[in-house]
């Protein structure tokens, strides 16, 4: 496939891997204290496992799987709120596929569907709006989540609903924003990351400029990376090269998609529809200031939070689940006490086990056997 296969060339991958290994040798790092690069985005986590990218890197480099899977960071209380809406007989509740399996305190949306409630999987918020137009006697609620990647399509849908005066459509807004989240991690006393792979899709919307505080104020390099395996390896090389050169910058490996100043049309619609919340609760990470958005007063008629009463309870994760430590890179997935025992993709306790982009699910599916590097490079 054009624009895909070019970025999956094994020979080129080996060449980049060799260059990374050569550069790392010149740095004062050891296997005991490897360089830790966090991929913020769940899409990167998925690619890293799917293509076995860790096998291409020397032991002195380690990927830390960050909080960038929006499904994985959903608090249980929010899922409970969704279910309280979905259980109303007058409601058709719609959302993306992978949000349906996230466990709430009692059940997931998939389980609510199995109980007979009208929960439907859609591929875009516009599909949800279409369902609303086709079912004028029912209330149609779209559960919107995701970072800046999915925010523009939700914003445009709300603008369209307003223009068309659709009365029976609303959004339960749980969109989150990436910059405060990275800042919260950088401010954490446990923080020991050596660099970041910046999220490609989010950056397509916000551009590369908003990350500049990371190199300026926190002295950490960041490379915005595409999602194909060669993109990721090249981005790792760019991070290592910065360390070798003694530089600390925001670089853009994904220039073919990501403009420096972002997508102005998308940013404009986001600004028109959403405003920052004071606080937003993240699963495993607690409350992070200004890390979520809500619907502006102008679109209040389409705000499910104002339309429906919800429990809005804060529900703590099970004591034994260590999602927060995994998501901030303090421990690896397999070091969690529940990993692969009571918490599996069949029976997820922590949300990181739910989506294929979650670090634990990816590790469970793809990473359960150690494959020696010799077997990989001999092809």
């Amino acid at each position: 496939m054009k624009y895909v296969d070019e970025f999956r060339n094994g020979k080129q991958a080996m060449a980049i891997a060799k260059k990374i290994a050569e550069q790392v040798k010149t740095l004062n790092v050891s296997k005991q204290r490897p360089l830790q690069f966090m991929e913020v985005c769940g899409g990167h986590t998925h690619s890293i496992f799917r293509y076995g990218l860790a096998q291409f890197l020397p032991e002195e480099i380690e990927f830390i799987h960050g909080p960038g899977c929006p499904v994985c960071v959903l608090p249980m209380g929010v899922v409970d709120d969704c279910i309280s809406i979905a259980e109303r007989p007058d409601v058709i509740f719609t959302t993306f596929g992978d949000a349906m399996r996230v466990p709430g305190s009692k059940k997931s949306l998939l389980q609510a569907k199995a109980e007979g409630h009208d929960v439907r999987m859609v591929y875009s918020p516009l599909d949800a709006l279409q369902i609303a137009k086709q079912n004028p006697e029912r209330e149609v609620v779209f559960f919107g989540l995701g970072f800046e990647t999915t925010m523009p399509s939700t914003a445009l849908t709300l603008q369209q609903a307003a223009q068309e005066h659709v009365k029976n459509f609303s959004l339960f807004c749980n969109h989150i924003t990436i910059i405060p989240t990275i800042k919260a991690m950088l401010d954490s006393p446990d923080m020991r990351l050596d660099g970041f792979l910046g999220p490609g899709h989010v950056s397509m919307v916000i551009g590369s400029q908003p990350y500049e505080f990371i190199s300026r104020d926190y002295n950490r390099p960041l490379v915005i990376a595409g999602f194909e395996p060669l993109d990721i390896l090249q981005s790792v090389y760019m991070l290592v090269k910065q360390l070798v050169d003694g530089r600390c910058e925001v670089e853009n490996q994904y220039e073919r998609i990501v403009p420096k100043t972002g997508n102005q049309v998308a940013l404009h619609s986001i600004g028109d529809v959403f405003e920052l919340r004071e606080f937003f609760e993240w699963r495993g990470m607690g409350s992070i200031d200004h890390s979520g958005v809500r619907i502006r007063e102008k679109y209040a008629d389409f705000d499910a939070e104002r339309k429906f009463a919800m429990p809005r309870l804060k529900i703590a994760d099970p004591d034994a689940a260590q999602c927060g430590e995994v998501v901030t890179g303090v421990i690896k997935p397999e070091q969690c006490k529940l990993f692969g025992k009571s918490c599996t993709p069949q029976t997820p306790i922590g949300a990181l086990m739910v989506s294929t982009e979650g670090a634990c699910a990816a590790h469970y599916h793809y990473g359960q056997i150690e494959i020696p590097i010799s077997q990989v490079v001999n092809r």
Binding site: G42, R101, G146, T149, G367, Q368
Partner: protein, 351 residues
């Protein structure tokens, strides 16, 4: 086939404006009319004698009887390249065929939702008749129920099948050996993508059609040429990944997939890329994964490629002593990864 097409047109002209009502399942006149005038003309009667509650079939001279049953509940009931009617015949035929048996007789249980248009039912029955003719099996007994609107989704079909397995043929998971090769008879994932497209939930347009087909003649070709088949399973729900995991766990062996050898249409790959789906888990309805000893594998592959149902056959994996009970894929890219069993349904990722 022409006879079936003509019959279909005649029946649509006679019944095309009617719908199924509860009376058609009541056991009375309406039901008799449905069976005599709509169903039996497609399937025929096993003999000239009046219909009995059972089909009376001669025993084979030698060999063993094989029996299977499956229920078909797909939505929508028609989709690109196929229908629930084709599935109900080919699915059961294939369950018999992958034992090495020659399928002979099928039963057909129809559970029809009140309100189904006769025209739709006639289409499906015609599809069943065509599929049975192509697969060389006869529908010899059946049952019809009509349920209240909302109790089923238009039409559910159960088919049971009986076939004959020659003495001496005994493939199965326990025969799988280290070093065996695994072959598949063509592109994977077409059926899964066709169903996704037909559900109308995708903004994508695709020309992919279901691969629904009977596998009997392809398998019989290999058997008749003396290819020793250690194991074979049809690759349906759960896709190739699931069958290979069943092999690995059932035989206590490792399986190594060569990603570059897996036949897959670029369009199917494209849909998977966009939706975040893995083609290894997509459903198929005309594919078989054969485990063949290494020294016969190349000959089997060449034979399969001479058959219409195997033109794009490929050797996709091998049975290995490493990573027992696990399936690992050597990617085109150079890395390796575990290919696990699917958990639940594949759900598209959000970004």
């Amino acid at each position: 086939m022409k006879v079936i097409e003509t019959l279909k047109q005649q029946l649509v002209e006679s019944f095309g404006d009617q719908v199924i009502t509860l009376a058609h399942g009541s056991g009375g006149k309406a039901m008799q009319q449905l069976i005599d005038q709509v169903i039996l003309p497609f399937f025929g009667k096993p003999s000239d004698s009046p219909l009995e509650d059972q089909a009376r079939l001669p025993l084979p001279q030698s060999g063993r009887l094989c029996m299977t049953t499956d229920s078909y509940v797909v939505t929508p009931i028609r989709f690109p390249g196929s229908s629930i009617g084709h599935l109900a015949i080919n699915g059961t035929v294939n369950d018999l065929a992958v034992s090495g048996a020659q399928p002979l007789y099928l039963s057909c249980g129809l559970i029809i939702e009140e309100g189904l248009a006769f025209a739709e039912l006639i289409e499906i029955l015609a599809d069943m008749a065509v599929a049975a003719q192509v697969a060389d099996v006869r529908i010899v007994t059946g049952d019809t129920k009509v349920v209240d609107r909302g109790s089923c989704d238009k039409l559910f079909i159960n088919t049971a099948g009986i076939g004959v397995l020659e003495v001496g043929l005994d493939s199965g998971i326990t025969h799988i050996k280290i070093g065996d090769k695994i072959l598949i008879n063509g592109d994977i994932g077409d059926h899964g993508v066709a169903i996704l497209a037909a559900r109308g939930e995708l903004a994508l347009e695709t020309t992919i059609t279901s691969d629904c087909a009977a596998l009997t003649s392809l398998i019989q070709l290999l058997l008749s040429e003396g290819i020793p088949i250690h194991a074979m399973r049809d690759v349906t729900r759960g896709g190739l990944a699931t069958v290979l995991n069943e092999y690995a766990q059932g035989a206590g062996v490792g399986i190594l997939i060569d990603e570059g050898q897996i036949p897959i249409k670029p369009e199917v790959r494209g849909v998977c890329e966009v939706l975040g789906l893995d083609p290894l888990y997509l459903a198929n309805e005309g594919k078989v994964a054969l485990v063949i000893p290494a020294d016969s594998a190349e000959q089997a592959l060449q034979l399969m490629r001479t058959h219409p149902a195997g033109m794009n056959s490929a050797m996709v994996a091998e049975v290995v002593a490493d990573h027992r009970e696990r399936v690992v894929m050597q990617s085109d890219f150079g890395g390796k990864r575990v290919v696990d069993m699917l958990v639940g349904e594949q759900l598209p990722r959000i970004c």
